[in-house]
Amino acid sequence: MLSSERSIRKEMASPDGLAEHVKAGRVRAISRTITLLEAGNPMGREILRQLGDSGGRSHAIGITGYPGAGKSTLIDRLITAYRQQDKTVGVLAVDMSSPFTGGAILGDRIRMQDHALDKGVYVHSLATRGQRGGVSAATRDAVLVLDTAGFDIVLVETVGVGQGEWDIAEVAKTVVVVVAPGLGDEIQAMKAGILEVAHIVVVNKADHDGAETTLQHLRDWHPCVLRTVAVKGEGIPELIAAIAHHQQADPLPRHVSSQTIRQSLH
């Protein structure tokens, strides 16, 4: 689906050209459109308008949780699993911009570089650029772009520790919250926040001490808590099944979906 990149540079100068190439799933056009939307360039909005409602097939999945819990490693494994099902995967990895300099080190991609040459996988990193919470202003637009480009699965990684959770629920149909063992009082805080938006809770790094205790505590508060060891691929089939189950059990999104966002553009 991601066709030849040759000689599309000229055509990328116009919104019409970019919109057509996005629909055809061309990587450069997808990336450039996201750049324009992020920069608040009016051409970006014009492209979105032209993309209209030609998407709507993707399943957007939010992967959020504490820093270092293993979100990117988990996404790497999810990509492998979805590719085995012949599904194409787009990833948006959101990291914080420095509030002081506006700069950012976007390092999620390191964990996913094994997929860099797979034409069915697309990874784009976004910085929050001053946006409060874990979802950048352009993230929801970028989800729409990947949807229109035809990716079966769109994975959105964000850091959620008390502010950004609601945002991720707006862009993703299924929200997976990732934690590592050893949570103590944090669970209290999570009850009013992250756990409320989670459809699935994952205790990753289950090879670490305290995993059982954390699992049990969380299960008191949430109906779907899974254990994974992302570095070894343990628990991934169960996670894939839980995500699929959520999608089937809840065909109408509980939160604002990309469909509703799209409608609001007209």
Partner: protein, 135 residues
């Protein structure tokens, strides 16, 4: 057209077999502190992986660290792949232990700048800051 200044996006990675990432992480941090968005791909990257990531990330420039002695092949391959994909508007620069005699050839092939041992971080930051954003 209103222009809102977006930060420069720079891919920083290391090609080849050499396993040290201290230097390249320092460069990444210095550029971050200068207000840029750094996509860090880590070590042991092939030219193919670098170019694919650069296009997916829509970066303005690629900064490569090459210490393995295979700098000629690796840089030239990156440039060739960019050209093949009609993406040779992405600036390529690099650093490493590169013998004098190889430098003209790499510049001629399109490597915009080469930073060799002894370069200050400020030199690198100044060079990257002056890169024209592509969008």
């Amino acid at each position: 057209m209103t222009t809102i200044t977006a930060p420069l996006r720079i891919l920083i990675g290391k090609v080849g077999l050499d396993g040290h990432d201290r230097g390249i992480k320092l460069v990444a941090r210095a550029l971050r502190d200068a207000g840029m968005e750094i996509i860090y791909t880590g070590l042991h990257q092939t030219p193919e992986q670098i170019v694919s990531a650069a296009i997916q990330e829509d970066v303005d420039a690629i900064g490569l660290s090459v210490l393995s002695g295979s700098h000629n092949t690796l840089f030239l391959r990156v440039l060739e792949l960019l050209k093949e994909q009609d993406a040779d508007d992405i600036v390529v620069f690099g650093g490493g232990i590169i013998p004098n005699e190889d430098i003209p050839k790499l510049h001629a092939a399109g490597v915009r700048a080469l930073f060799r041992p002894g370069t200050t971080m400020a030199d690198i930051v100044d060079f990257v800051k002056a890169i024209q954003p592509r969008a």
